[in-house]
Amino acid sequence: QAEPLIFERGGMDRCGVDLPEPKGLKTRLGGLERKDAIGLPGLAEPETMRHYVRLSRKNYAIDLGLYPLGSCTMKHNPRLNEKVARMPGFADVHPLQPASTVQGAYQVMGELAHWLMTLTNMPAVALSPKAGAHGEFCGMMAIRAKLDADGQTGRRRILVPESAHGTNPATAVQCGFTVDEIPADKTGRVDMEAFKAKLGEDVAGIMLTNPNTCGLFERDIREIADLIHEAGGYFYCDGANFNAIVGRVRPGDLGVDAMHINLHKTFSTPHGGGGPGSGPTVLSEALAPFAPVPYVVATEKDGWDLVEHMDEAEGTPFGRMAAFHGQMGMFTRALTYMMSHGSDGLKQVAEDAVLNANYIQARLSHVMTVAFEGTCMHEALFDDRFLKDTGVTTLDFAKAMIDEGYHPMTMYFPLVVHGAMLIEPTETESMSGLDRFIEVLDALATAAKAGDTGRFLAAPVHAPTKRLDETRAARQPVLRWTPSADAAE
């Protein structure tokens, strides 16, 4: 059922809060009172509740079923984390309170930093990046600051594999670098010969996702690290896929100089329909002095303090990433999650994540086409060869999954594979749940090959809407409601 917009149902005189009557004091606004009506409709509390509850039911969610979006790590979000984040000492404190009144909050930051540094075997971490891409920005800024500090002003080229997340090249450019793509070899990994050929005096570093976006561990990673270091560059590791190795492999042992950690992936802070994220970034010895402000330090008398100005810092911070200290609400959730799992549980997380992906790959390899041979890490990558001549595209296949009650996998990414289908089940899926999913995909693949094309092209038919016209949205953008613009319906 269509749910109208609040603008079509609310009213200027309707309100879902009670407030005391203002006293009518003389204002001190210097004549800058707002003159015209704002135009914001309100709804009483019961109507507001229904509107958003009804809207929510048009969403798919982890709590409803498998959400196998490759590269996104859609794992179970424990509610203990939500409860902890709402404790008054965390949810109801201001970032600029005096240090004596927020020692517990600083402690959370200090302990989270300790966990992240220990899990990665890296000597420093910047907590303030507000999302993965912001963490990439942090790491690349540190590399740029280090190069500049060393007078390496000629090094401006960053190597990025063609399978990289789009954020990698975008971030590199944002830090004043140029991007040079490295091709993949036929095993889905960095083509070492091509990589070596690109090294040179203008190379600033490499941005590499590991496990990479094909779901594969870069076997030559130590050699890549050594070569880039020898060439005078730095190794940025995109940590989006840290879930595959947490507790079993420490990026610091692989020669990484900087890596962001998506707390909303590996450490299960909820995705919330697209955010907020949190992207703490670990830094090597070489880059640590350039870490941004602010950060917490332990004081001599068992307390914590915040270093928030550049000139107070021990090193030479490259700057400040954002107001205040980072995504505290995500820190509490992530720390709660880490403490719940412990070092043993986190290792099991990686193992079960990898086990589940390989189970899917193994059991579907007879009906779908696995992109690269061999075992995978935490996600299984298929291409669309199995759909050849069926008239069914990856998109159609994905939409048909919706009708079977599943969220589709990541489609058409990574770009190195034709019609990619990247399936990341995560470790919180049960074997019986995976079996059901496998059966559905098997049946769909079989149906596609059997020529049941109509079912795919029409899909989804069991979703809250039929297939939506994305082209129209881009060609004739309607980005807000206006009284006249209720056109379609």
Binding site: E21, E33, V93, G272, G319, M431, T465
Partner: protein
Amino acid sequence: MRYLPHTDTDRKAMLDAIGVASIDDLFTDVPEAARLDGLIDLPTKQTELQVERALAAMSSRNVAASHAPFFVGAGAYKHHVPATVDHLIQRSEFLTAYTPYQPEISQGTLQTLFEFQTQVALLTGMDVANASMYDGSTACAEAVMMAARVTRRTKAVMAGSVHPHYVEASQTLAKYSDVSISVTDAAPADLDAVIAEIDDTTACVVIQTPDIFGRLHDLREVSRIAHEKGALVIAVFTEAVSLGLVEAPGHMGADIAVGEGQSIGVGLNFGGPYVGLFACKDDRRFIRQMPGRLAGETIDADGRRGYVLTLSTREQHIRRDKATSNICTNAGLCSLAWTIHMTLLGEKGLTQLARLNHETACELADALSAVPGVELVNETFFNEFTILLPKNADQVVNDLARFGVLGGVPASRLYPGRFENYLIIAATETNTPEDIAVFAKALAGVL
């Protein structure tokens, strides 16, 4: 472990199906030197009860805003958030959904974003808004970069009374770009200094109102001059509630309006997550250069209205190194909270809330001005103002904390080495007359 469904029997059966003998066989691509033998040196797993207790102990070491007379602002404000808001954002379908890449099963998130965009546009008096940014400071930084792209110019002028964290975040983002930022002195005559800096190479001027000291600025004159020179005006706000009472940036000539949405629906959270608001004119040049996600209206195969993420050719996952920004998230759940709270408020509630905030601040200003030795700096303010003390404000704040009063932000915390006797103080609808009386008395006591 409670979050991991497999039993060891399951694991064995799955390894068999894969055709390997042990889990180690799936990690053989890891260089041997990097394969850990045992466990990393961190505590092992704990029960829910143990973890909850440990975190509760940390929580109890903090003084919560609701447990003290509270007057801290400077970019984050204590407001009452209706219980309905937090209930709704915890709905599984909102909380545990991802970015709405599959619009047919994400209409809840998408329609909400469309409502959010519209509300932000209305509130700021602008034409369009995006689906939110990380926070106000990063929204400000992105706005500066966008203005440079739109104008193809490289000089940005920021008023010294813009929140220093916002200035620093902008400087960081611009640091290795071709955009240079000049910041005027944070003196009383802010706007004059900004106007004096505008020239033919200026991409934008950035002015915050109410500014970090709480002062209101009329943007009309500076807008006229900036536009004459072909520069854009970026209006910044850190207190979204102010827009219920104070003229909107869009009505004073702003081309881009950015700000912090935390005041509506989100709560203090020790600084994050918050929700950045980003709005601009409805102009193709602008929209093509906007950062962040946009939800747009369209129709489905049956011709029925629906919503999708749109104009993604601006974004990194399509344009990669040519993208307008590397951003690939929005503040999803916080923007949802914002929209729900704004829907509960509506025009009527928001304007009343704003008026209450202002009146409380007026009463607080009067009460504190009456304390001997205290001088009110502001001629104008909304719900935040600055006072000049006869002694170091940082020390005063710490002394007040010992009296159980959280009494504001010393200006020197934001401007190190400057304004040492200035104290920035916020008042909201959550402050009672008793809070004000306690504060005034405590302040008199510590001076």
